[in-house]
C-alpha cells in the first residue's frame, strides 16, 4: 500500500490541462517516499511504518479540512479555534461520559456516547463561531482567535489543567489503534470523510454556493444566496471536523489534555495553503488537501527517520511552502521563453472583495 498514490477521490479537472498544484503535490509525495525508502534501505516503506504514518495524519488532516472550508467561504475566512475545540470536545466528553457510563461494562455504549457528546460539543462550538461571524459580522480571524482562547480556557477549567484519562473501552481503542485490511481504522475514517466532503464541495448545492460566495460575496449577495445560513453551516462543519479530530486523538492516546497539539494550528494552515486553497476564498480541492497532508507527514517522518533536527523540519516546511507558492503563482516554464507573460493569469488574485454592508 502506498499512502501517496491513494489520493482521495478522482476529481475531473475542468480543463484538459492538468492542475500544476496536483502534479507538484504528487511529485513531492513520490520523491519523499522514494528518498525515504532509499536512505532507510527500505525500512521507510515497510508496512509498519506506512501504517504508523497513516495513523498519525488524520487528526491534523481533519483540522486542515476545517481551515480549508473556512477559507473557501471567503471574506478572510479562517478557523483558528480548531485544535482548541478538538481538545475541549475530548476533555468535556471524557469527563461527562466517564462519569455516567462505565467503560468496562458497556464498552459500545461508552464509545458511542463518547463520540456523540464530542461531536455535539464540536457542533455547538462551530455554531457559536458561525453565529458570531455570520450574524454579528465579526472578522473570522479575530473571532476564532477569541473562541480559541475561550475553548482552551474552558478545557483548562473543566480538567483543572491536568490530562483526563478516557476510559479504555475496546471499540474506542480499536478506532485509534486497530487495522482493517492492513490499514489503520482512523486513516480509513479520514479517507471516508475526505471523500464525502470532497463530493459535497464539488457537487452539492451547498458546496457550489460556498465556492461562489467565496469568489465574490457581493455577487452572491445580489444573487440572493442565504449567506448567513451558508456561513453557519460552514463553521458548524468546521466544528464537527475539529471534534472528530478530538475523538481520534482520544482514541489513539487514551488521554486528552487542553494543551495537546498547540503547534497544530499553524501546521493546519500550512497544509491548507500548500494544497492551493486560495486564502481569498472560492477555491480549494480536497484531493490536493489530502496529498498536501500526506506530503507533510511523509516529510516529517522521513526527517525523524534520518535523525535530523526538528528545527530543520520547520525550515523544510517553510521552504516547501515558498516553492509551492511560486509554483502556483508563476508559470515557471514560461520563464524560459523570452517575452512571455510570466504571471499565470488563472492564478492571479481577484481584487479584494469589499465587505457587504
Amino acid at each position: 500500500m502506498s499512502v501517496a498514490t491513494r489520493a482521495g477521490q478522482p476529481t475531473p479537472t475542468m480543463t484538459n490541462k492538468p492542475d500544476p498544484q496536483l502534479l507538484f503535490l504528487l511529485g513531492i509525495n513520490l520523491v519523499v517516499l522514494l528518498a525515504g525508502a532509499a536512505v532507510s534501505r527500505g525500512a521507510f516503506i515497510d508496512p509498519y511504518n506506512l501504517q504508523s504514518m497513516s495513523a498519525q495524519l488524520p487528526e491534523l488532516g481533519l483540522l486542515a479540512m476545517g481551515v480549508m472550508l473556512a477559507m473557501c467561504a471567503g471574506n478572510g475566512g479562517i478557523d483558528l479555534s480548531g485544535i482548541a475545540l478538538a481538545n475541549l470536545s475530548g476533555v468535556l466528553s471524557a469527563l461527562l461520559v466517564g462519569q455516567w457510563v462505565p467503560f468496562d461494562e458497556a464498552p459500545w455504549l461508552f464509545t458511542s456516547a463518547f463520540i456523540g457528546v464530542a461531536l455535539a460539543v464540536g457542533l455547538l462550538g462551530g455554531l457559536f463561531n458561525g453565529l458570531l461571524i455570520a450574524r454579528l459580522g465579526f472578522t473570522p480571524i479575530l473571532c476564532t482567535l477569541g473562541t480559541q482562547l475561550l475553548f482552551t480556557g474552558l478545557a483548562v477549567v473543566l480538567s483543572a489543567g491536568a490530562s483526563v484519562r478516557v476510559g479504555s473501552a475496546e471499540p474506542l481503542m480499536e478506532l485509534g489503534n486497530g487495522l482493517l485490511l492492513g490499514m489503520p481504522l482512523n486513516f480509513l475514517l479520514f479517507c471516508a470523510v475526505a471523500l464525502l466532503l470532497g463530493m459535497v464541495l464539488k457537487f452539492s448545492p451547498f458546496g457550489i454556493r460556498l465556492m461562489l460566495m467565496g469568489t465574490n460575496p457581493k455577487a452572491a449577495r445580489y444573487a440572493g444566496f442565504a449567506q448567513t445560513r451558508l456561513l453557519l453551516t460552514t463553521y458548524a462543519l468546521c466544528g464537527v471536523l475539529a471534534s472528530l479530530a478530538g475523538v481520534l486523538i482520544a482514541s489513539r492516546n487514551v488521554n486528552v489534555k487542553w494543551d495537546y497539539g498547540q503547534s497544530y494550528l499553524l501546521i493546519a494552515i500550512l497544509i491548507t495553503v500548500m494544497a492551493g486553497v486560495r486564502p481569498e476564498g472560492g477555491y480549494g480541492r480536497m484531493t490536493c488537501l489530502f496529498l498536501s497532508t500526506t506530503a507533510l507527514q511523509l516529510l516529517s517522518s522521513m526527517l525523524n527517520f534520518v535523525g535530523l533536527s526538528n528545527f530543520f523540519r520547520d525550515f523544510a516546511w517553510g521552504l516547501l511552502l515558498l516553492v509551492f507558492l511560486a509554483v502556483s503563482r508563476y508559470d515557471l516554464a514560461a520563464l524560459l521563453r523570452p517575452g512571455a507573460n510570466r504571471i499565470n493569469p488563472s492564478a492571479q488574485l481577484p481584487p479584494a472583495p469589499k465587505r457587504p454592508s
Partner: protein, 332 residues
C-alpha cells in the same frame, strides 16, 4: 512548473545523495527523546548522550526532541522512532499521560523504554529519578542551617502550592530544621509562580516584615534569582543565607556576590548518561536490582522499587548542591 519524470528522478537522486551520508548503520540504536530541543537544560543532556555514544562505539545513541514545547510533537517523534524500530527509547516526557499509548505500542514491538522525570509513567521498563524528593529538601535545608549557624528565622518559597515536588522539598526542609532548636520557620510556603520579578517583590516584603530574618529556602528555578536580587539590593549579601533550586549559569553573578549561598539541582548530563546506561543494561538483559550501579556519578547505588505500571522505579542520589567555589564545574 511541469514535473517531468526525469526532473523528479533528478530531485530524488539529489535528496538521496544528501541523506545517504547520514544513513544509520545496523548497530543497535538507543534514541533519547527530550521535551524540547535547543534549551540549555536539554543541550546539557545531549552532552551526556554524546559522551555515552563515544564510550559505546558498538551502539548508536543520539538525542532528538520537538522544536516547540508541545506534547503532540513529541508524540509524533516517538511514533516515527517506533516505526523505525530503534532498539531502545530513553524519553523525558513532556506529559507522561499523553505518550502512554505510543510507549505501549513501542513495548509491544519489543522496544526497551526508559523514562526520566515521570514517576507516574505506566508503560515503561524503568523510570529514573535523579534523587528522592524528601532527601533533596532535607539536604537543601541542611546547607541552609550550616550557613545560618543553626540559628534564627527562615522562610520557604514554592513555585505554587499545587506543585507536588516543591511542597515535598520544603516540607522535608521544615522537618530537617526541627532538629535545631534555634531555627524558627516564619511565613512558610510563599508562592513565587517561578517568576523572578514576583519572587523579588515577595522577598522584599518578607525582608521588611522580618528585619531579623536569616535564611531563605526556595524551590522553583527562578526563585533564587528574585530572592537573591532582593537580598543584594538590601545590602544583605553574605549576611542573609539563601539556598534553593537553581541553574548555575543564570545564578553565577549572584553566587559570586554572595547573595545566593548555594544552589541545588541535578545535572541533566548525568541523567542522560544514566538513562542510556540503563537502556543498555536492559538491552544486554542485565537485571536492574536494588543497589545497581549505572556507572554514573550519583547513580552508583540506585534504589530500585516497583513502579506504578509493570516497570521499575529507579531513584538515584544525584543531587548537586553547588556554591561559589564549585558551581564553575557545572556551567549550563
Amino acid at each position: 512548473m511541469k514535473l517531468t519524470p526525469s526532473k523528479a528522478c533528478l530531485i530524488g537522486a539529489a535528496l538521496t545523495a544528501t541523506f545517504s551520508g547520514l544513513n544509520a548503520q545496523d548497530k543497535p540504536t538507543i534514541a533519547t527523546v527530550v521535551k524540547i530541543s535547543g534549551i540549555p537544560w536539554f543541550n546539557r543532556m545531549e552532552v551526556g548522550v554524546k559522551e555515552f555514544a563515544m564510550a559505546n562505539p558498538t551502539l548508536n545513541a543520539s538525542q532528538s526532541g520537538p522544536a516547540t514545547a508541545d506534547a503532540a510533537q513529541q508524540l509524533k517523534i516517538i511514533d516515527d522512532l517506533v516505526a523505525r524500530k530503534v532498539n531502545a527509547l530513553a524519553v523525558v516526557p513532556m506529559d507522561p499521560a499523553v505518550i502512554e499509548g505510543v510507549l505501549k505500542r513501542a513495548m509491544d514491538r519489543g522496544i526497551v523504554v526508559v523514562t526520566h522525570e515521570a514517576d507516574n509513567q505506566k508503560n515503561t521498563n524503568a523510570n529514573i529519578e535523579a534523587f528522592d524528593n524528601a532527601a533533596y529538601g532535607a539536604a537543601l535545608n541542611e546547607r541552609l542551617a550550616a550557613c545560618m549557624g543553626k540559628q534564627g528565622k527562615w522562610t520557604s518559597f514554592v513555585g505554587s502550592l499545587g506543585s507536588r515536588t516543591h511542597i515535598q522539598w520544603v516540607d522535608a526542609g521544615a522537618a530537617n530544621a526541627k532538629k535545631y532548636a534555634g531555627m524558627t520557620l516564619v511565613d512558610a510556603k510563599n508562592e513565587s509562580f517561578d517568576d523572578a520579578n514576583k519572587t523579588y517583590e515577595k522577598a522584599k516584603e518578607v525582608l521588611r516584615k522580618h528585619p531579623d530574618i536569616k535564611g531563605f529556602q526556595s524551590s522553583a528555578g527562578n526563585d533564587v534569582i528574585g530572592i537573591g536580587r532582593a537580598i543584594e539590593e538590601a545590602g544583605l549579601a553574605g549576611k542573609v543565607c539563601l539556598v534553593g533550586t537553581g541553574l548555575p549559569n543564570p545564578s553565577a553573578k549572584l553566587l559570586d556576590s554572595g547573595a545566593i549561598t548555594a544552589i541545588g539541582f541535578w545535572d541533566p548530563k548525568d541523567a542522560g548518561l544514566a538513562m542510556n546506561r540503563a537502556a543498555k543494561m536492559l538491552l544486554d538483559k542485565q537485571p536492574l536490582t536494588n543497589g545497581v550501579n549505572l556507572g554514573v556519578k550519583g547513580y552508583e547505588k540506585v534504589t530500585v522499587s516497583k513502579g506504578p505500571g509493570a516497570g521499575l522505579l529507579l531513584v538515584g542520589n544525584a543531587m548537586v548542591i553547588a556554591d561559589k567555589a564549585t558551581y564553575k564545574n557545572y556551567l549550563f
